[in-house]
Structures are given as structure tokens and as C-alpha cells.
């Protein structure tokens, strides 16, 4: 099976082949052409020149239905589930078993549980999707694409919101697909995953395939060098080796929210980054949401610079200096149809208004241009709609809009989710710059390397409680995982090795 593409602006003369039973990784920075490539493969876009062959036969996809019929199925970054329907109905959305045109409910459930069982997953097909976690939805998304029994499976950033354990489930699923002799195209920014999973990798840069790596050449330095086109010695660069300043900026005492988190006490010093690690559902985000005034806690005490505050809305929290950076930039953070400049001023219109309340458009323009420069946003101009930017650039805009509020404490919830290495580095620099200016950062992240690389101190949460605290220099990856899982280090290592045996 081979696929060829011709030149469209975003993609130039990219050739590559997928083989049954192989996981082929596709890596590249923002705007390298990964999305365009997938859209071509599923027929959402048509190539200007070049051909796609499926099973040796030339294929022309005018729309996605034709590509599905040819045996290509894709799981996109954005979830496409209907949240008011059940798991089973979502999996078989276009191919529900019917009799005389009526849906056969029991048959539907039976098939769904058959599919779920065949991957040894723990999921009730009757559950409504809106009650599932993000990770479970991702699994349903993949099952949905498998329901068509495709020979080629495209996975676009499938792990961007998953925790360690959830990733394992996903990897098992991919392993199964490989055994079933399906061809898998795996797109990810996460180099460790690629190293673990892929049989070979194609690296895209600026719309061109700049490298093809076989299994034995597949190493992190090789990949990053090809992706970025320069050496990235260490993304997380030099540690500052600084100890928290004596005066805490933010002091949280005994924050409670029954059923979600309990007895949360910690402080964040001026200019300090405190990382919060833990599994999804451990209550990390909820603490962030409580501090940001989005879901206020039940009881407890929050002091900012020694002053007691109790934010009950994001507005109140921002006024006090606690700024929450939302986890999901598309639904919570940005105004996708609006321009970069309008997005950048959204949280602080008042700053650009005179005494009468009228806005100064030129100030807004200047502010936007400055922010784009500082954050190194690559865009056509400040009037471009944010929805047209790549994920990394969107995230930079969102971060810039929030940091321009001059927060005392920034609560960054998964600040680099679904963002490539290049943008990640710039986001880290921006967070560091913020702390250098005296602000503090509470970093909530599922990415352990990020937590270890950025934080001065690390808190680990499990089941709504802080179960461990580390200084950066004392913490290791194993310790954090063990604390997050609630097991001893030895048994965590044990688990990891027994998994290797199984694989």
C-alpha cells in the first residue's frame, strides 16, 4: 500500500507508505502539514496533484464517506461524540443494526459490548457519553472508528489529554490493532510515546517530509533534530535552583469541597512555580477551578499576599490577582471566530478604555502586535481569526491574554496540551518570564516531564488529597508516579516490568 501527495501550499511532494501490522508515526511542529495530510487521507480535502493507493488500487476520495468505504478510519484530536447518546449508539452511529428501519436496541448493546470486550476494556455500553471522562471518550472515539472495520487507522494526538494509566489502555488497543494486521498512522507531539510505539516515523517540516526513520534510528535526538531543524539540547533548560522566598504569595489552608477534594493546604512563594501532579480525576483541576473562582470550594481559607480572599467568580478572582488559564483552549479559552487582537484584550477591555468607557482601537492594535511579538505567535496578522491558527499558536495567544493581566498567581491547567515541541518551549519561556517578573505559577499538568522540568516544588494529589510533596531536586519520576497511584515505588516498578513481560 502506498500513498503519494502532490504540492498544495501546506504540503509539498510528500511520499510515504503504510504497511499492515505497522505503526507509522507522523511527527512535526505546528503547521508542518500533519493536519492537511490527514484531511487529504480521509477525503476532507483533495490533493492538487499526487495519488493515494489503497491496497494497490488508485483511490480518489471526494468526501469522507468514500474514504471510509475504502477502509480508512480516522480519530481526530477534536472529539466528535454526541454527548447525549449512549456509548453504544455513538460507536455505531452510522451503522446501527435495524429491523424494518427500526433500531434494534438489544442487538446494538450486544455488538457494542462485544467490541468492548474484544479489547478487554472496562466500559458499560449503555452509559451516556456526557458522563464519561475525557479519557473514556477518547476510547469510545477509537472504538467508533474501529466499528467500520478499517484496514488503515489514523490517530491524531490520541493521548493529548490522557494520564499514564489511560495511555496504557490506549497503547494496548493499538497493540491489538497491530496484531490484527491493520496499518496505523500515529500522530503525536509526544516523543516518548512514539519511541515506545512506532515501527517507523516520517518527520514533516514546513509541508515537506524531511526524514524517515526506521525502528533502529528512532531516537529522541534524531526526531527533535529533524522536527525543529536545530538541536534542542534540553527543552527544560537550566534549573534556577532557587528556594522559595520566605513570604508566601498564595497560601491555601484546609480547602474542602466534599466529594471532590479535602484538606488542601499549600502555599506558593513569590516567583515560584509549584507543580501539581496526579491522575485525571484526582482533583487537581478542581483545586485550580476553586482558586480561579470557577467552582468555588465549600470551606477553607485562601490568602493572597496575606490578605484573605474568597473568589466566587472568575471576575472576582482576576480582580484579586488569581488568574486561571483554562485547560481547553477551544471551548473555554478562546473566541475562535474572532481576531487575535480581540482575543488578546478580552479579559481586560477596561484597560483600553478612557474615562468615558470608549476603547482606543490603536492601543488595542499596539497591544496585540506587542503580545504576538513577545510570544512569537506566527500568524498572518493581528486580524486573523484565532480559529485558523494552529494549536500551539492558539495556546500562546491564550497564555498571552492571561499573562497580560499581570496576575499575582497564574493557575495554568495543562498549559501545553496538544502543543508541539517548538511551541512548548516558548510557552515554558513565557511562564519563566512571568515568574522572573515576580508572579507565581501553580502548574497543573499530566505531563510528568513538564512538572519535573518546570516546578520548584511538586505536590502530588490522589483521590482529592495532597498525598506527597517534593522539592524539585529530590523528586524523581518514579516517586511521583508511585504517589499518584498510591503504591510503593517498588511495586510501581514491578508493575512497569510485568507490563513489559506481557508486551
Amino acid at each position: 500500500m502506498s500513498k503519494r501527495f502532490g504540492s498544495i501550499a501546506a504540503l509539498e511532494e510528500v511520499d510515504f507508505a503504510l504497511f499492515p501490522g505497522q505503526v507509522h508515526a507522523l511527527v512535526g511542529e505546528n503547521g508542518a502539514g500533519k493536519s492537511t495530510l490527514i484531511h487529504l487521507l480521509v477525503g476532507a480535502l483533495q490533493p492538487d496533484s499526487g495519488n493515494i493507493f489503497v491496497g494497490g488500487r488508485l483511490a480518489h476520495f471526494r468526501d469522507s464517506r468514500q474514504s471510509v468505504r475504502a477502509g480508512i478510519a480516522a480519530v481526530f484530536q477534536e472529539l466528535s461524540l454526541i454527548s447525549s447518546l449512549s456509548v453504544a449508539e455513538n460507536i455505531f452511529v452510522t451503522r446501527q443494526p435495524t429491523r424494518f428501519g427500526f433500531v434494534r436496541k438489544t442487538e446494538l448493546m450486544r455488538r457494542a459490548s462485544g467490541l468492548i470486550d474484544s479489547f478487554a476494556l472496562d466500559l458499560d455500553p449503555a452509559r451516556i457519553v456526557s458522563s464519561l471522562s475525557l479519557a473514556e471518550r477518547q476510547v469510545v472515539e477509537i472504538l467508533k472508528c474501529l466499528a467500520a472495520n478499517p484496514c488503515v487507522v489514523l490517530l491524531d494526538e490520541p493521548t493529548s489529554s490522557l494520564t499514564h494509566r489511560e495511555k496504557e489502555i490506549l497503547f494496548r488497543l493499538i497493540e491489538r490493532l497491530r496484531e490484527d494486521k491493520r496499518a496505523i498512522l500515529y500522530i503525536s507531539h509526544h516523543l516518548p510515546e512514539i519511541l515506545e510505539l512506532a515501527d517507523c516515523a516520517t518527520v514533516l517540516r514546513d509541508g515537506r517530509a524531511v526524514g524517515f526513520l526506521k525502528r533502529d534510528a528512532l531516537t529522541e535526538p534524531n526526531l527533535t533534530r529533524l522536527m525543529v531543524g536545530r538541536e534542542l539540547d534540553d527543552i527544560y533548560e537550566a534549573q534556577r535552583g532557587k528556594v522559595a522566598s520566605a513570604v508566601p504569595r498564595l497560601a491555601v489552608t484546609d480547602l474542602n469541597c466534599p466529594g471532590i477534594f479535602e484538606q488542601i493546604s499549600f502555599d506558593v512563594g513569590q516567583g515560584e512555580i509549584v507543580g501539581v501532579a496526579g491522575l485525571v480525576g484526582a482533583g487537581r483541576s478542581n483545586v485550580g477551578l476553586a482558586l480561579g473562582g470557577i467552582q468555588p470550594a465549600d470551606s477553607g481559607e485562601i490568602r493572597l499576599d496575606g490578605k484573605k480572599i474568597w473568589p466566587e467568580s472568575p471576575r472576582a478572582a482576576m480582580a484579586a490577582g488569581l488568574v486561571y488559564l483554562p485547560e481547553d483552549r477551544k471551548t473555554e479559552g478562546l473566541f475562535l471566530r474572532q481576531s487575535i487582537r480581540d482575543n488578546l484584550v478580552a479579559p481586560q477591555l477596561a484597560r483600553f478604555a478612557g474615562k468615558t468607557g470608549f476603547l482606543s482601537e490603536s492601543d488595542i492594535d499596539d497591544n496585540a502586535a506587542a503580545a504576538c511579538r513577545e510570544s512569537r505567535v506566527s500568524a498572518q496578522g493581528i486580524w486573523q481569526a484565532v480559529g485558523r491558527l494552529s494549536g500551539g499558536n492558539q495556546q500562546k495567544i491564550l497564555l498571552a491574554a492571561r499573562t497580560r493581566l499581570k496576575p499575582k498567581v497564574l493557575i495554568a491547567d495543562e498549559p501545553t496540551r496538544g502543543v508541539d515541541v517548538g511551541a512548548r518551549v516558548e510557552i515554558y519561556q513565557q511562564l519563566r518570564r512571568l515568574t522572573a517578573e515576580g508572579a507565581s505559577v501553580l502548574l497543573i499538568s499530566s505531563d510528568l516531564l513538564e512538572i519535573l522540568g518546570l516546578s520548584d516544588r511538586i505536590l502530588v494529589m490522589r483521590s482529592g488529597r495532597i498525598v506527597a510533596r517534593f522539592l524539585r531536586r529530590d523528586a524523581t519520576e518514579q516517586q511521583i508516579i508511585a504517589a499518584a497511584l498510591g503504591v510503593s515505588i517498588a511495586s510501581a516498578l514491578d508493575r512497569a516490568s510485568s507490563k513489559d513481560v506481557r508486551a
Partner: protein, 320 residues
């Protein structure tokens, strides 16, 4: 800022002049009519058109703000009638002085709007259903308090607002132009009104950005209700009568005009000036039809076809 930069920003701004399309359509329409019969662009016709649209233009100002914020108001026509009737009943039956009666009318409009806002913002009920309910309720109350009959013979102080002239322009026209102009500048440039674009663009993100979404919605519905009340009062003053079926179907015409003017039911876009142009286009159709001698019953079909054409063109334009 260098000359080149400022030129570029000017060029960028002019291409974003969202009203350009409807403006050109309107010019072409007028030019064609003027070619057909040069009497079309005479002072009396223009006056008729402006007088016809002034109520719509006032309601459209409030409606634009609502649509931009992702809201919707079906109750404006009924609220216009209700406010005029409240004022009429107070003046004729209770012998209240006209300024007080008019004030009461405006307050009733604002109150209906705020109730709409509370139901939509605080209880999270769909604006379509909410304002459909309040539309029927307001119309019903109008019939109840009036006993189904109109009121007329108002004092001249009240009627002056509908019939008087200032600098050659009839007052309702003047009032509507002032409201459109002020409304346009505020929605475009004022930090309070500008928040609506964010709410309409992504309500949740707007809230998380520290915008007081609920308060803003309450204000918007109250604003729309007050302007509808004002339109109803001016109409009653012009005709020297308040009738219970006044303004029936106006809400749909106003929404049509606002959408023709570039706003979207999805929120996040639109301007008051654009909506005014939409009203102008709508108001020109009726005299155009009589000029061309086609017959009045064509009006609705033409408006409907125009609305569909506008939204289809908009969608096709965006797909590219």
C-alpha cells in the same frame, strides 16, 4: 506608526467593513429604481421610507445588541403595543399627565425585557422559547388592559413627539437616527457594549475571561425592551392612537433586517449601522413595489427571498 503601517491598517479596516456588502446592494437597488423613475429619490418618497422604518430602526438597535451577544427577542412587537397601551390607558382612563404615562410605558417595556433576561440568564432557558412566551403574554395583557379597543385623542404634548418637526425632519425619524448613531458608536467602541461580541463568540470563555455574562444579558434584554417601548410610544404618538394589535409581526421584520445587516443568530457579529441599512432595504421594498406597479402582496415574498439569498451568500462566502 509609519505611513506604510497606517495605510495597511486602514486597508485592513476597510476590508473588514462588514456592512459594505449590504451598502452596495442598497445603492444598486436605489440606483436601479432611480433609473426606472427619477421621482423615486424625491424628498416625499425618502420621507415615507424613513417614517416607515423609524420604529424598526429603533427596535433593531436593541435587537442587534442582543443578536451580537447570542441572544434573541421575539417580544419586541408585543412590547411596543403593550407600552403604548399602558401609556394610552393611563392618559385616557386615569388622566395621568403624558410625561408620566410615557415614562410608565418605557418602564413596562424595560420590565418585560428584564424578566426575559432573568429567565434566559439565570434559569438558562432558551431565548426563543422565553421571548415567544413573553411575546404572547405581553400581547394578551395589551388586550386585557385595553378591553380590546384602542385609545386615541391624546394631548398635543404627547402627539408632538410623533408629528412634530425639528429642523425639517419629523421627530420620530430624528429620534431613530439619533438612537441608531449613538447605539452604533457604543456597540462598536464602548467597553461595556463591546463585551457582547465575546459573549456571543463563546459564552463560557467570556465568563472565564472575567466578563459578567449574566449581568450583561439582563441589561441587553432590558435595553431591547426599553427601545421597543419607545418605538411603540412614538408610533402611537404619530397616529394619535394606541391599538391592541399594533406592531404585530414586527419582531420578524426587525430580526430580518438585522440579519440582512450582517448579524448572525450564532452571535458574535453584527453592527447597529448594518442593521439600519437592513431596515432601509426592507423599508424600500414597499415603495419600490408600488412604483413598479407589481402589487402589494409581493412584498413578503420579496423580503423572504432576499433574506434567504443574503444568508446563503454569506455562508458560501465563508466556505471559501
Amino acid at each position: 506608526m509609519s505611513f506604510r503601517q497606517s495605510f495597511r491598517s486602514l486597508a485592513a479596516r476597510s476590508t473588514r467593513f462588514g456592512e459594505l456588502r449590504i451598502f452596495l446592494v442598497l445603492l444598486a437597488f436605489w440606483f436601479a429604481l432611480w433609473c426606472y423613475d427619477s421621482r423615486f429619490l424625491s424628498v416625499p418618497t425618502i420621507n415615507t421610507v424613513l417614517l416607515y422604518l423609524c420604529g424598526y430602526a429603533i427596535m433593531a438597535t436593541g435587537m442587534t445588541v442582543l443578536l451580537v451577544s447570542g441572544g434573541f427577542d421575539l417580544s419586541v412587537g408585543s412590547v411596543a403595543a403593550l407600552s403604548a397601551m399602558v401609556a394610552g390607558v393611563l392618559m385616557k382612563d386615569a388622566f395621568v399627565s403624558w410625561p408620566l404615562a410615557a415614562l410608565a410605558g418605557i418602564l413596562v417595556g424595560a420590565a418585560v425585557g428584564i424578566v426575559n433576561g432573568i429567565i434566559v440568564a439565570k434559569l438558562g432557558i432558551n431565548p426563543f422559547i422565553t421571548t415567544l412566551g413573553s411575546m404572547l403574554l405581553a400581547r394578551g395583557v395589551t388586550y386585557i388592559i385595553s378591553g380590546g379597543v384602542g385609545r386615541s385623542g391624546f394631548v398635543s404634548g404627547f402627539c408632538w413627539w410623533g408629528q412634530g418637526r425639528l429642523g425639517g425632519l419629523q421627530l420620530p425619524i430624528l429620534v431613530s437616527l439619533v438612537i441608531v448613531a449613538v447605539g452604533d458608536v457604543f456597540l462598536r467602541r464602548h467597553r461595556f457594549f463591546r463585551q457582547n461580541y465575546y459573549i456571543g463568540g463563546n459564552e463560557h470563555a467570556a465568563w472565564l475571561s472575567g466578563i459578567a455574562v449574566d449581568r450583561m444579558k439582563l441589561f441587553n434584554y432590558g435595553f431591547s425592551g426599553s427601545l421597543a417601548a419607545l418605538a411603540g410610544l412614538l408610533f402611537a404618538a404619530r397616529l394619535d392612537s394606541a391599538v391592541p394589535n399594533a406592531g404585530e409581526g414586527d419582531e420578524l421584520k426587525v430580526i430580518t433586517a438585522v440579519i440582512l445587516g450582517g448579524a448572525s443568530l450564532n452571535g458574535g457579529k453584527g453592527t447597529v449601522f448594518g442593521s439600519f441599512l437592513g431596515c432601509l432595504l426592507l423599508a424600500t421594498i414597499r415603495p419600490a413595489i408600488s412604483f413598479l406597479g407589481i402589487g402589494d402582496h409581493w412584498e413578503k415574498a420579496v423580503i423572504g427571498a432576499m433574506l434567504l439569498t443574503a444568508v446563503i451568500l454569506d455562508r458560501l462566502g465563508r466556505a471559501k
